[in-house]
């Protein structure tokens, strides 16, 4: 496959069967390999779409500074696109993220402003909104509320999946900004209405949830509950265990959030087996394992890894 530039090569990722993890010949798992994007994560799709839309509306001119709250991957994608297109980039990221994320952001030229580890991404969002007010010339694309985020998946990820797997029965992805689930979910509900859309949601350690009032919680503006059929909470231990299963059973080196997604997919797969139904379950591989090597997630004692992840934003 030939492309004229790196940005044109975003998307078009392979769908790969997971024959060893699939519980029966009639209940099959399929992995959408989003780690094959230019910066190694699914976020290249929405990042590029948000920049393209802002450019087409005349809201960005070369030399402008982008500002974005991120737990890592979206910031990395935006930093890459910004470098290629001639923008500056400021990422607001919680301090308790893996060191690799900071290194990658800096490598693509982003400036990092750390937000407090207490309160997780909620705190990064709050801090970025403050910075946007203080710096009116910075352009915040704001992944949590930007329609181009879900539309990128409606226009690319969804059609790719259905073309490769016309018999799809379930789609499982991480919740995050909700962009992947909203975009792919809307596309599949329109074109294959019986497909069930399932969110895997990371359950973090206590520090991430913070001590602030319950009234100050955060739900992305993009979130539309009616698109989802189920939402499954996955703790670090199950996520790490499944991340390792991907490696040992299928030889796939994936990030920890993908382990959480696989865990939810296997719950659905087992239910299909128990109900005597056949199923084609597609799940998202959000990114590869490279950014998480320092967590020790791929070797050694699972309990120790889980303890280390306790106060980290691992997905």
């Amino acid at each position: 496959m030939r492309y004229n530039s790196l940005l044109e090569s975003v998307g078009g990722t392979p769908l790969i069967g997971l024959p060893h993890l699939s519980p029966s010949p009639d209940v099959r798992l399929w992995a959408k390999m989003e780690d094959r994007n230019p910066t190694g994560s699914i976020k290249d799709r929405p990042a590029l779409a948000m920049i393209n839309q802002a450019e087409s509306r005349g809201e960005l001119i070369p030399g402008d500074t982008l500002l974005e709250p991120t737990s890592g991957n979206t910031g990395i994608s935006l930093a890459m696109a910004a470098k290629v297109k001639g923008y500056r980039m400021v990422a607001v990221m919680p301090e308790n993220t893996s060191p690799e994320r900071s290194e990658l952001l800096r490598m693509w030229g982003a400036r990092i402003i750390y937000s407090s580890p207490t309160g997780g991404s909620n705190e990064a969002v709050r801090h970025a909104k403050e910075l946007a007010e203080k710096n009116p010339d910075w352009k915040m694309l704001y992944q949590y509320g930007n329609e181009a985020n879900w539309q990128s998946h409606y226009l690319t990820t969804g059609p790719e999946l259905l073309a490769d797997l016309p018999t799809i029965t379930h789609f499982v992805a991480g919740l995050g900004t909700t962009g992947t689930l909203m975009g792919v979910g809307r596309y599949l509900k329109e074109n294959q209405p019986q497909t069930r859309i399932i969110a895997a949601e990371p359950r973090y350690g206590e520090q991430v949830y913070g001590l602030r009032n319950l009234e100050n919680g955060f739900i992305p503006e993009l979130y539309d509950e009616s698109i989802l059929d189920s939402r499954i909470s996955v703790g670090a231990e199950d996520a790490v265990r499944r991340t390792r299963a991907m490696l040992t059973e299928e030889g796939m080196f994936v990030g920890i959030s993908t382990g959480a997604i696989l865990h939810a997919a296997l719950i659905l797969a087992e239910r299909a087996v128990a109900a005597g139904e056949s199923a084609d379950i597609a799940l998202i591989v959000c990114d590869g394992g490279w950014k998480y090597l320092s967590s020790g997630a791929y070797a050694g004692n699972v309990e120790d890894v889980v303890k280390d992840l306790e106060d980290q934003l691992w997905a």
């Binding site: 909620n122 949830y209 913070g210 955060f218 739900i219 499954i232």
Partner: protein
């Protein structure tokens, strides 16, 4: 029958610092009432006019109750109810 209710940090002031409490009830609403009877104010922090508050997520055995039967979600002995504030990802 008895279920375990996992309490988020921000509500532990109501449960004398306990991370989890035992409760009984045939569905989620009954279990919340049961916890509230022992730890006054609990229900009020979770519910507003009888509805689950917007920024609160409750899971029964790891599944969000908004996609089960909400407050009517039936509970069985040994079930785990987890209460968490809504957080962002991305």
């Amino acid at each position: 029958m008895s279920v375990t209710v996992e309490i988020p940090t921000v509500l532990r002031g109501l449960t004398d610092g306990q991370r989890a409490v035992s409760a009984s009830g045939e569905n989620l609403a009954a279990v919340i009432s049961d916890v509230d009877a022992k730890h006054n104010g609990f229900a009020d922090r979770l519910l507003d006019s009888g509805q689950l508050r917007r920024f609160i997520n409750i899971y029964v055995n790891d599944e969000d109750v908004r996609f089960l039967q909400g407050l009517d979600t039936p509970l069985a002995d040994g079930d785990v109810v987890t209460v968490l504030p809504a957080v962002a990802g991305g």
